[in-house]
């Protein structure tokens, strides 16, 4: 199971305290993970890294709304598989809930 964290660097739509807390706990957790500056930015550039993530099997993604994440990957030509992907929403959920899901 891979973990992907999106920092939403290019906008302030994810509450700063939530994304900082998630990153901090992920950093301290001893788990391997990939962190990207901004999934929207990568999608706009059709970054080949998205394809590597989408093709790589089960993944937990800490970012924003699942519908947005799904279609951002699709827009980049890297559709996520229908199964095995969990998107955790840092715009709505608490850091505690997200980290619990990420590292379990």
């Amino acid at each position: 199971m891979k973990i992907l964290y999106c920092n939403c660097t290019y906008a302030k739509v994810v509450p700063t305290e939530v994304k900082q807390a998630v990153l901090r706990q992920l950093s301290d957790s001893g788990r391997a993970f990939d962190a990207v500056a901004d999934l929207c930015d990568m999608s706009a550039r059709r970054d080949p890294g998205l394809k590597k993530i989408a093709d790589g099997g089960c993944t937990k993604i800490a970012a924003c709304y699942p519908r947005a994440v799904k279609w951002l990957f699709h827009a980049a030509g890297a559709p996520l598989p229908d199964e095995g992907v969990t998107v955790l929403n840092m715009r709505e959920d608490t850091a505690v809930d997200i980290v619990r899901e990420l590292v379990k």
């Binding site: 199971m1 891979k2 992907l4 920092n7 660097t9 290019y10 906008a11 739509v13 900082q20 990153l23 901090r24 950093s27 301290d28 001893g30 788990r31 391997a32 993970f33 990939d34 962190a35 990207v36 500056a37 901004d38 999934l39 929207c40 930015d41 990568m42 999608s43 706009a44 550039r45 970054d47 080949p48 890294g49 394809k51 590597k52 993530i53 790589g56 099997g57 924003c64 709304y65 699942p66 519908r67 947005a68 994440v69 279609w71 951002l72 699709h74 827009a75 715009r91 709505e92």
Partner: protein, 291 residues
């Protein structure tokens, strides 16, 4: 250079054999500063999975005792955190490799939810900035992301199926939140631009222009014209959440009519089952579109 081109530098925060593990605070500070400056960061842990390398340049950072052996078909750079900060090292390697720097832009472009889209082409007809196009399969596509006007969600407001997302938008469901039945039914989500201005948009604009010319030729009151334009633009701004900057760059009536003709031609080609429809005309500059 286009804001949507170029590769990011990927940084590998290495703490495996041949290195000293980072303190928790140091690791977090490195991660945070790198991400906030546009870098991608991977923290590998032995026996656990991360994304494989793509063709982006790679920087390995760590408190390294020896240079780690790397078997990768990509450009690899190594820096020791004992000698340099994570951010300084990444910026240096970014400059060396020509990787993309953090840009002062908000990634703002429409993302289509194809579970909802019915391919009605209303967005293609509506957008005045040539953001939308038609692909080889005659489906709607986002073809010119860079043309999209930051913070303008107007096309998503005219989409009858709430199928257009702007993930950086504040409000639901345009931000990607779940679409509820009431969202679809809500007046704001069913704005039909053709009725907004009292019938056919382009016909309405032509009529408005004719009436304005006739009226102003007798009244000669330019202040009234300005007030009328402000009133109409205010209405558009309120109903469709169009930012002021976008309203200031709206094209002239003639340009709109020309674009309508081009959109109709694209639709006609699609309906005729033609192959790729490519729009080769250059987009007018802001100066050409000045009002």
């Amino acid at each position: 250079m286009s804001r949507t081109k170029g590769k990011n530098l990927r940084v590998l925060l290495y703490e495996g054999p041949g290195s000293t593990p980072l303190e928790n605070d140091a690791r977090y500070q490195a991660l945070s500063s790198l991400l906030n400056n546009g870098f991608e960061v991977t923290r590998p842990v032995e026996g656990q999975q991360v994304a494989p390398p793509d063709d982006s340049p790679l920087l390995i950072l760590g408190l390294l005792e020896n240079s780690p052996d790397v078997a990768a078909n990509v450009e690899v750079h190594v820096r020791n955190l004992a000698d340099v900060s994570a951010l300084d090292a990444a910026c240096e390697v970014r400059d060396e490799t020509g990787a993309r720097a953090l840009e002062a832009w908000k990634p703002w472009f429409p993302v289509i939810d194809f579970d909802r889209c019915t391919n009605c082409m209303q967005c293609l007809t509506f957008c005045l900035f040539d953001v939308y196009g038609v692909d080889n399969q005659q489906n709607i596509t986002v073809q010119n992301q860079d043309n999209c006007k930051t913070d303008c969600p107007a096309c998503s407001r005219v989409c009858p199926e709430v199928a257009i997302l702007f993930p950086k938008y504040a409000k639901s469901p345009i931000n990607g939140d779940v679409v509820r039945e009431q969202d679809v039914q809500r007046e704001a989500m069913k704005v039909d631009i053709t009725t907004l201005l009292g019938g056919d948009l382009y016909g309405s604009l032509r009529t408005r222009q004719r009436e304005a010319r006739a009226r102003f030729s007798t009244e000669r009151d330019e202040s009234k014209a300005l007030l009328e334009r402000k009133r109409c633009l205010g209405k558009l701004k309120k109903v469709l959440n169009i930012p002021d900057e976008v309203l200031m760059t709206l094209p002239s009536t003639e340009d709109i009519e020309e674009r309508a003709a081009r959109a109709k031609a694209k639709l006609a080609k699609r309906q005729a089952g033609s192959q790729t429809v490519k729009d080769s005309r250059p987009v007018p500059s802001d100066k050409e579109w000045g009002i």
